[in-house]
Amino acid sequence: ARGRARASFGMSNFGSKGAMLVTDIAQSAKGTIPPYNDELARAVVDEAQEHHRSILRLIGDIQKTGASLDEAKPDDAASILVHHQAVLRNKRALLVYLNERMRRVRALRWEVGTGLPEVVAENLSHSERSFFTQYAALVNKYQGRRGGVGLNLTLDPAPPRDHKVQVRVLEEYGEVVTRDGAVDLRKNTVHLLWRDDAQPLIAEGVLEKLDDN
């Protein structure tokens, strides 16, 4: 029976895969989202399922002897407990992984906006992409004029200094409509724009803020 149990697990260290998963996201550079480690996440879930099967088997063995679980020998109770704790540890590892990635995905909405750059999107799982879309919509709803606070909350991450900013156009962007009328954002031209108009474009990388020196 012992030999069979070993073979069915196929690994020796409880929690090592979970630790690897947490390390994956913990060691990644702060502002980035590494590719979703689907293989490892699945392995952690599968391992949890293995532990659970062991629990059920152990419970079954006890019940076959006619004893109730309360009357189980300490050794058997301890085995069940260890497997149960192993499942909980794997669950925690998974949630740490998902939670930290989710935090970074949320940050995207505030830093980049509602358009998810392709290079980032390809690193997200299907569920994470879906979460981003829903989260972006949730923020939009809260910010909106109708049914919301009516204020763009992604502006002014820092206290403002000037109400107009000088910017240089980095990418050909075409014509935009501002409070002062239409402005043609030709590459390498310099403009004096209202902060509210310029800030989203600066965040997107279309404009570059020029220091007033």
Binding site: A41, R42, V45, A48, Q49, H51, H52, H84, V87, L88, K91, L94, L95, L98, M102, R106, S125, H126, S127, E128, S130, F131, Q134, Y135, L138, K141, Y142, G147, G148, V149, G150, L151, N152, L153, L155, D156, P159, P160, D162, H163, R195
Partner: protein, 239 residues
């Protein structure tokens, strides 16, 4: 604790005695809506838990900002092309600068609260005394947010063994506690400034003998839990 030490026996004492006869000193900064907004924002930023939403203040500030914007826009339109003087330009500039500063405070206030709601969404929803501190829009936000998180997590947790799929309980048990719901840490330390003389105050119910003499402008570094009531009473501000 950092505070001023008052030396005894000097001509100053006469003045102080006189001043104390006039009653406890309170904060002397004029209490305009903008200064209240700034205090609300800083308090919110520093407090570990979400504070009661400033319904009236935000309504008044929003109305003022809208009104001021209309006024400035109207005067710009009236000035027309090339007819504005240097004074008009400067006035417009000042109005815009002020509007931007106020809008920053409003945005920052809303943002600080959303961050806390996101971190403790389930906690906010299940504790009625926390939920009532949220505005109606925030309550809806908390609920919608908790739902999208649950949906996302369930894509993985749904594959877990039976009983382990919940994101609020480690293992689903009848009458089991929701042991996976993060809560704000009321024992986190905060810096605060005393706004009005309060005399001898008992701060820690576990240590009732140890009272503190709180005078205006005293600065304390203390567990949030112990000054929470003082903050609610506007006797202290966080910093």
């Amino acid at each position: 604790r950092v505070s001023r030490d008052t030396p005894r026996a000097s001509p100053m004492d006469e003045e102080e005695d006189l001043a104390s006869q006039l009653g406890p000193r309170t904060s002397q900064v004029p209490d305009t809506d903008v200064s209240r907004l700034k205090r609300a924002y800083v308090n919110e930023k520093c407090a570990p838990e979400i504070l009661p939403f400033e319904h009236d203040l935000m309504r008044r500030v929003t109305e003022s900002v809208d009104a001021q914007e209309s006024t400035v826009a109207a005067s710009r339109a009236a000035a027309g092309s090339g007819a504005s003087s240097a004074t008009d330009d400067l006035t417009a500039h000042v109005y815009h600068a002020e509007l931007n500063r106020i809008r920053f405070l409003m945005r920052a206030y809303y943002r600080a609260r959303l961050r806390k709601i996101e971190t403790h969404a389930v906690h906010c929803l299940k504790e009625p005394d926390v939920l009532e501190r949220l505005s109606d829009l925030e309550q809806r936000y908390a609920s919608d947010y908790a739902n999208i998180v649950e949906e996302h997590f369930s894509s993985v947790l749904g594959q877990m063994p039976e009983g382990y799929e919940s994101m609020v309980q480690q293992i689903i048990e009848e009458d089991g506690a929701f042991d996976m719901v993060p809560e704000p840490d009321a024992d986190a330390h905060v810096f605060c400034r005393v706004r009005e003389d309060r005399g001898d105050v008992m701060l820690d119910p576990d240590d009732p003998e140890n009272t503190m003499d709180l005078e205006r402008d005293d600065i304390l570094m203390i567990r949030y839990r112990l000054i929470k009531k003082l903050l609610e009473d506007e006797a202290v501000d966080l910093m």
